[in-house]
């Protein structure tokens, strides 16, 4: 089965690592698959998102649409056609 077409939304500080793109379209079954594709297609961007062990950096949050993957199935969260995956620094007030 063909993996669903989804959109990766790139945070402002990281657009410099993917030629200024604000969004990257790709096809992936899960967030893990999406990260694997980004490792190949956008290695400089990927290094900002995952460390050298492949682990998502600790202070980043990944959302599928409006849900944090922490509350879903982590990086094994399944993706559906048209989903928007947003990567955001875990900044909060105070």
């Amino acid at each position: 089965m063909r993996p669903p077409a989804i959109i990766i939304h790139i945070p402002g500080p990281l657009r410099v690592f993917c030629s200024g793109a604000a969004q990257l379209p790709l096809a992936a079954q899960t967030v893990r698959d999406a990260l694997r594709i980004l490792e190949q297609s956008q290695p400089a961007f990927y290094r900002n998102v995952c460390d050298e062990t492949g682990t998502l950096r600790r202070h980043l949050n990944v959302f599928v649409n409006s849900d944090n993957i922490r509350d879903l199935d982590g990086i094994d969260t399944m993706l559906s056609p048209g989903d928007v995956v947003t990567i955001l620094p875990a900044v909060s007030g105070g």
Binding site: P13, L14, R47, N48, V49, D51, E52, T53, G54, T55, R57, R58, H59, L60, P89, A90
Partner: protein, 370 residues
């Protein structure tokens, strides 16, 4: 171009560069570069056209190396930063040290978790130095208060001295191929065995090119009132070696505390050494009165340098890389504080003035004459 003094100031919120003429009357400040991101290591590489390097330790997006080719007017990220091999299992948590290597454009980089990396192209690509990074002891080192960091890299011809907290002092005598722990006489006040083979919390190591084999070390002291097994452990914090680091002896007698972070050698006199004794609990100067202490006889006796510094109510810390000395005929010392002041000690530290009083907390100060 006339000689210029270039100061690099690594802070909690990016790197600043200050520049002055040789007179050192007025310093112009530039930055922050890599704004908002902590900088723990800087380097002014004076080989050929000067280059400035700074680590940029972003808690969100990982560790980067910044490079300037215009004396700190602008910085760009190098093509890549140090990274452990994918199958290693370790992930870079901080960059603590950047030093010039032996070959042109060669750089050495100490990181957390404690490991050493080498670049042969001015920071664009990096390889792990396996002789120390995969040393038999490496997986037994434990983090100190600042993390498990390789913070000190001192080159001496084919010898390479490394300071690891907490791992101790490691020495290579074959240009960095192999390393061995060299901690005879270096105490670990926090361990039941005061003199283990390794595991000491070394804070900084310094040497002078005119005194072959001599090294000075600021170790983690502050154990004079220890009441555990073995009793008090005074004077283990400030040490000297005269055999290239194979053995060490205390030179702490006469200091108000043997705890501290930086240690420096005068650029033109290997017998003149500077430390900043701190109270081990507050990590501020004893009596809340900041002072740099100087020995002019290789550590046999010490004198206090504080003219111009606050006389009381100061509780800042000067971190391990927070102090440096320039190489002009009559050198000036510089230190940055955790409360964001940058001080200059003119006439070799005889007279202190505050150059900048409201910078972010300062991790690192380096100076070069270019």
């Amino acid at each position: 171009m006339a000689d210029r003094i270039i100061l690099t100031i690594g802070t909690k919120k990016g790197v600043f560069v200050a520049e002055a003429a040789k007179s050192r009357r007025k310093y112009a400040l530039r930055g922050p570069f890599g704004p908002g991101v902590p900088v723990y290591a800087t380097l002014v590489d004076t080989r050929g056209t000067p280059r400035i390097y700074a680590s940029s330790c972003n808690p969100f997006f990982g560790m980067k190396v910044l490079r300037s080719t215009d004396l700190g007017k602008s910085f760009k990220e190098t093509k890549s930063g140090p990274a452990f091999p994918k199958d290693d299992g370790r992930a870079l948590a901080n960059i603590w040290a950047l030093e010039m290597g032996a070959a042109k454009r060669e750089l050495l980089c100490g990181v957390e978790p404690a490991a050493l990396f080498r670049s042969r192209d001015g920071g664009d690509s990096w390889e792990m130095v396996t002789g120390i990074s995969n040393h038999d002891h490496a997986r037994q080192w434990q983090p100190g208060g600042g993390g498990l960091c390789m913070h000190t890299i001192v080159r001496d011809g084919r010898r390479l001295h490394l300071g690891i907290s907490t791992g101790g002092h490691y020495l290579s005598e074959d240009g960095g191929e192999t390393f061995h722990a060299a901690n005879k006489g270096v105490g670990a006040g926090f361990a039941p065995d005061l003199y283990p083979e390794f595991g000491q919390c070394v804070h900084k190591i310094a040497r002078h090119g005119d005194a072959p084999g001599r090294l000075y070390m600021q170790n983690h002291g502050g154990w004079a009132n220890w009441t555990g097994p073995g009793g008090p452990r005074p004077d283990i914090g400030v040490l000297r070696s005269d055999d290239s680091g194979h053995t060490w002896r205390s030179i702490a007698k006469g200091l108000p505390s043997d705890f501290g972070f930086p240690i420096l050698v005068h650029p033109h006199n290997a017998d003149t050494v500077y430390v900043v004794p701190l109270d081990p609990e507050t990590r501020s100067c004893p009596g809340s009165a900041p002072a740099v202490w100087r020995s002019e006889n290789g550590g046999n006796s010490w004198s206090r340098l504080s003219r111009g510094l606050p006389k009381t109510d100061s509780y800042f810390t000067i971190l391990r890389d927070g102090m440096d000395v320039d190489h002009l005929k009559t050198p000036a010392l510089y230190f940055g504080t955790t409360t964001g002041q940058l001080w200059i000690g003119r006439e070799g530290g005889e007279q202190w003035d505050c150059l900048f009083d409201s910078l972010p907390p300062i991790n690192n100060v380096k100076v070069a004459v270019v």
